[in-house]
Amino acid sequence: MSCMGRTVFIGLDGVPHGLLKRLADDGTMPHCRRLFEIGNLHCIASTIPDISSVAWSSIITGKNPAEHGIFGFVDIPINTYRISFPNYLSLKSKPFWEKSEGRSVILNVPSTFPVREMNGVHISGFVSLDLERSVYPPGLLSQVKALDYKVDVDAEKAHVSMDMFLSDLDKTLTARGKVCDHLWQHEKWDTFMIVFTGTDRLMHFLWDAYEDEEHWYYKAFRGHFSKVDAIVGSIIDRLNDNDILVMCSDHGMEHLDKNVYVNAILKEHGFLHYDPALKGGFANIDGRTKAFSLDPARIYLNKRGKFPRGCVAPNDEEKIIEDICELFQRYAVGGKAVCKAIYRKKEIFHGPFIDLAPDIVLIGNEGINLHSGLTAENTSEETIFSGKHTQHDAFLYVRGRDKCPSVKEGFNVSNIIGYIDSLKAERWR
């Protein structure tokens, strides 16, 4: 073992700073509570947009989306109106484990499917198409399968039966804990990273069970967090004093009141034209369309030369962007503004892939979940989901109060890797 110690990096997908603090305080997560007494818990920002694929890509590369090229779970490649699904192959910057010399174990980082050769062990996270392409080295596959591992809970189950979903969530977590344990014991590593993703799924479906003590699933909600906490506890019990321990989430979460459909609003105001009766989604966008949006709320101008039926000329771009920003600034549902913030491309993106970036990104107001499907016929709707992502209120935890560089205002998830590097440098000194 090097005198520098190892690095352990634990991700809790979607877990808000506020919730984590509360569950540590109320006894749901005693191991986290113990950690918070010996380290610093910070409230940090997510990426824009605040979506797991973008945020985790920024976390593992330390880069802006226009540098790593991931802007969402879906994309429309230039010169098409075809939906594509960016994956690990689309990531245009190297993750930290491909830049460091040491050996890494990387377990369940979202948007790292399919795996590729690396120095260590890599088991990819959501969205994964099959286990075969999710495990590196391939020789480990049979062991992973033997431990009943699966990448993600079957969220489909929540739409059939909440009990079935919860039992699957629990099984998935148990298996993840076993694989974590196995890798910890049997692999040599300098960096160990694990992301727990069930937390995000649970909060999407049952945020109201977090807030309401009389909720049928109140105990089940806390039970899942306790179990995550127990696995975290088993990890910290095995740490050495000179190991670096960092924990973080990729975005925050809050109560969801309503889904608001960006494309329906663009359509309502004449920016978007398509026939909803036709199959094929975005392929039906017609030549009068000035702008369309991709999940969660990334608005792209339908630029001439960029898209097949693009009609927006370079001279008109500014005006249309202004009109759309103005529309969303005043747009309200039930008396409540739908946007908390509106960003133009240049304010938030920098890097070689800025041409692929959306022209505008909207951040939903409190309780407002912005969506960009094309099938919605109404501009807003109730939904069975009760939690939604937030751009604010993600967290970063670093063990050891001494020798920790400060976390500056405006710190976001893409700064974490740089921060860990500075921690290492600090300890090396």
């Binding site: 779970f73 879906v74 939906i83 699904f85 959501f126 969205v127 198409l129 099959d130 699966k150 993600d152 079957d154 969220a155 489909e156 189950k157 929540a158 739409h159 059939v160 039966s161 909440m162 009990d163 079935m164 799924r201 999407h204 479906f205 049952l206 109201d208 069970a209 309401d212 009389e214 909720h215 049928w216 699933y217 999940d295 969660p296 979940n369 969506h371 499907g373 099938t375 016929e377 109404n378 807003s380 709707e381 109730e382 939904t383 069975i384 989901f385 009760s386």
Partner: protein, 270 residues
């Protein structure tokens, strides 16, 4: 297999008990029939509870935007089962075009709530049977088997206790009515297993045609069909029991895309 039957029989017994108990307490009670699988199952249980009869009015809220199959099914079985059917319409709202064909929760709720309110007032119904299930919606997880409604039909779950009949009776003043949920503990899978066991007739929209079927047909939930090959009750049960989307996924590019799309949708994206 026996285990399943026992489980279903237990659910059946509980539901029938609740149905009979509510009827004996209120008499002036009605039932909401959406023609969907849940409320049709409820209808089946009611007929069992009262030996083939339905001794109270059955309300069908007609939003004017239902599928033809639903109307056909309703009329056929209303006649066959001798149901005292009351079709409830909020003509005013319909005239205003409140609810689109595939409209979801909010607009339809407005339509339904208003129409229902008018009818409950007009006939002075004291209570209403509904075929909702606890696992159906996040927002329903906190429902009780019996729940009081105030005048504005707001949830009032904090001011109720789950099983005290007497308390309910005294609480049921002029302003409110009691909602009775005999199927609250059932899951989607229970419903389909029971439909299979009892051979309950079901609207054809639930069965797959050209690789798609409706998982729910009411206006309250999403009306868009899901990818499925299940064209019989047996296959639907099997689909719910065993097939996760991962097992259905293949290797072809578009199948992979469809798989990812479905994964993302189930998490609320898209």
């Amino acid at each position: 297999m026996t285990k399943t039957l026992d489980h279903l029989s237990r659910l059946e017994n509980q539901s029938i008990f609740i149905i009979r108990e509510a009827y004996s307490q209120f008499r002036n009670i009605a039932m909401l029939w959406s023609i969907g699988k849940d409320s049709t199952t409820l209808m089946w249980l009611v007929r069992k509870a009262f030996f083939g009869k339905v001794p109270f009015a059955v309300l069908h809220i007609d939003t004017g935007y239902k599928f033809k199959e639903i109307y056909d099914f309703r009329d056929t079985y209303a006649q066959q089962w001798g149901i005292n059917l009351m079709v409830v319409k909020n003509d005013e709202a319909i005239a205003q075009g409140v609810c689109p064909k595939t409209g979801k929760f909010e607009c339809c709720n407005q339509l339904k709530t208003e129409a229902l309110k008018q009818t409950m007032d007009k006939y002075k119904f004291k209570a209403l049977y509904l075929g909702i299930r606890r696992d159906e919606h996040g927002i329903r997880a906190k429902e009780r088997v019996f729940s009081t409604r105030d005048e504005d039909f707001e949830w009032d779950y904090k001011n109720q206790s789950p099983e005290l009949w007497d308390q309910y009776k005294t609480k049921a003043t002029h302003e409110e009515h009691i909602r009775v949920h005999p199927l609250l503990g059932w899951t989607e899978l229970d419903i389909w297993q029971y439909i299979l066991r009892e051979n309950i007739p079901i609207v054809s929209l639930y069965f797959a045609k050209q690789g798609r079927r409706y998982r729910s047909i009411g206006c309250e939930t999403c009306c868009s069909p899901v990818a499925s090959q299940a064209d019989t009750v047996e296959k639907i049960v099997e689909e719910l029991q065993t097939s996760t989307i991962s097992e259905r996924s293949g290797r072809a590019q578009d199948k992979e895309s469809a798989y990812i799309m479905q994964k993302l949708r189930s998490l609320g994206y898209m």
